[in-house]
């Protein structure tokens, strides 16, 4: 485990973890399989020629982008996603994007200390760095990170309290 990109890497374990990531992230099972496979292939190729910092950070990032690509392809092919499909298998993204989730999230954001809300807006919407946010709001980058962490926990808890589950959908 000391050298994540070493040739002795247990790719089976990586593959299992990737699949777990994709499923929990809300990808459809068939898409999850494809994306996991493609991601793994790229990772293996990369690891043979380069030192990889965090194997999983890279793996998840590749997988996220592949999901975006797949979504775009499907949209082009089939137009908007048809409703039948949607009700059959509500993926996590879909649930989070729903109107109800938006209401819950908005309410939670509103109840949040203004500073925390400000940090979330700057980080997520405006993609400002933690350091830049800290400088503007007179706090350390560490404090900014804490606000983000706490904000995420608050939001997730609000969704759960409202019965908008982010747990194990489709499992």
């Amino acid at each position: 485990m000391d050298r994540p990109a070493a040739p002795s890497q247990d790719w089976n374990a990586v593959s299992t973890t990737l699949l777990r990531y994709l499923r929990a992230r809300g990808a459809r099972p068939d898409l999850a399989d494809d994306v996991a496979q493609e991601t793994l292939a790229r990772l293996i190729a990369l690891s043979q020629t380069r030192q990889i910092g965090s194997l999983f950070a890279l793996a998840f990032r590749i997988a996220d982008n592949l999901i975006v690509d797949a979504g775009r392809r499907e949209k082009r092919q089939f137009g908007e996603v048809d409703e039948e499909w949607e009700s059959d298998d509500p993926s996590l993204d879909r649930v989070l994007d729903s109107r109800r989730a938006l209401d819950v999230l908005s309410r939670c954001l509103r109840a949040m200390p203004p500073l925390r809300r400000e940090v979330l807006i700057r980080r997520r919407l405006n993609q400002e760095s933690c350091r830049a946010i800290g400088e503007d709001l007179s706090m350390s980058a560490k404090a900014v990170e804490k606000h983000i962490t706490r904000g995420l926990l608050d939001l997730r808890a609000a969704l759960e309290r409202a019965g908008v589950s982010v747990m194990g959908i489709g499992e």
Binding site: R42, L46, L102, R110
Partner: protein, 329 residues
């Protein structure tokens, strides 16, 4: 809000902390190894992490934050916690929907090479020959129409989409992405978006004209000078001067159809535009002619007609030589 101080599961707390940290392009080697160890330590870790990641990237959170950003007053007046009937204001939401494509500050990107991910980074140079426009489809699905004589480099990584425009003019129809910003660097200024359609004209060494046809873009001219342009607006920045341009109509710039809308534009700029598409270049007999202003719609696909119009407007003459057109008094 004391109820908020409930017991968060230890795993969730760790996962939430990792989410933002690992979404950054560059990681400290120690942090990277620690993350990999944490992920492998327990299957519940990756699951919790994935859920927070999905929440962080969700359209729901983005819209919620957009509403909060659009209506800080309403948020400030609200008490703590209550407000059960509170509804998302529809109008604000719609107004801000078009702002969704906007990202204020460019990501500080450091080469991915250090992550060992060079194969993931696609870097391509494109050039359009003078006199011929060129269409380019980028790896992320974005479309670029390059005017004749335009050159650009495109760099796409898992974390970013960056174009550096060397000269000329290009119309960008950017594929929307939730997280990866799309930045066009022109040396003196940069334009950042998530997904939108806009045109950039590098008029001269420092003058840049940006016109927005869809969504909202951020133009950063350095030194803290930054503007947000919604669709239908244009701006000319250069040499410490800023000029807002009249209404931008349609869904793509006129030059694509061979037209140029001059709005108190210099002859120099019109001629430059003409030269991008013309087989024979137009030269000014006296450089001072370049600063004469013109307004109106010109068919740049027909240089002789434009010269004729210019001659009529400013009482000038033009002649055709073997390898060029000359505009003179």
């Amino acid at each position: 809000m004391n109820a908020q101080a409930q017991e968060f599961d230890a795993i969730d707390r760790e996962a939430a902390a990792w989410v933002d940290r690992m979404n950054r392009p560059l990681h400290d080697a120690e942090v990277a190894a620690e993350f990999d160890r944490w992920i492998m330590a327990d299957p519940r870790h990756v699951e919790s992490y994935a859920r927070f990641q999905a929440l962080w990237q969700s359209g729901g959170l983005r819209h919620g934050l957009e509403v909060a950003q659009a209506d800080p007053e309403g948020f400030a007046l609200a008490g703590e916690g209550e407000a059960p009937d509170w509804e998302v204001p529809n109008r604000a939401r719609q107004a801000w929907k078009q702002f969704a494509g906007f990202a204020a500050v460019a990501l500080c990107l450091v080469g991915l090479a250090s992550l060992g991910a060079r194969a993931l980074v696609s870097e391509t140079s494109y050039a359009a020959a003078r006199g011929a426009a060129r269409d380019v489809l980028l790896a992320d699905g974005s479309k670029v129409r390059m005017s004749g004589g335009t050159q650009m480099n495109v760099r796409i990584t898992p974390w970013s989409r960056e174009v550096s425009l060397q000269n000329g003019e290009a119309f960008f129809d950017v594929a929307h992405e939730n997280l990866r910003t799309f930045t066009v660097n022109t040396g003196t200024s940069r334009v950042t978006v998530l997904g939108t359609a806009f045109d950039i004209d590098m008029v001269d060494r420092e003058t840049r004209v940006v016109r927005v046809y869809r969504g909202l873009v951020s133009v950063d001219a350095g030194a803290g000078r930054q503007w947000r342009l919604p669709a239908g607006n244009g701006i000319e920045v250069g040499g410490g001067r800023v000029r807002s341009l009249g209404e931008v109509r349609g869904d793509h710039p006129g030059w694509i159809d061979g037209w140029f809308d001059a709005d108190d534009t210099s002859v120099q700029q019109l001629v430059q535009r003409l030269n991008r598409g013309s087989r024979l270049p137009v030269v000014l007999d006296d450089p001072a002619l370049g600063s004469l202003p013109v307004t109106g719609r010109f068919q740049t696909s027909d240089p002789e007609m434009v010269l004729e119009a210019l001659a009529a407007i400013h009482d000038l003459q033009w002649r055709k030589e073997t390898s060029r057109y000359v505009l003179l008094r």
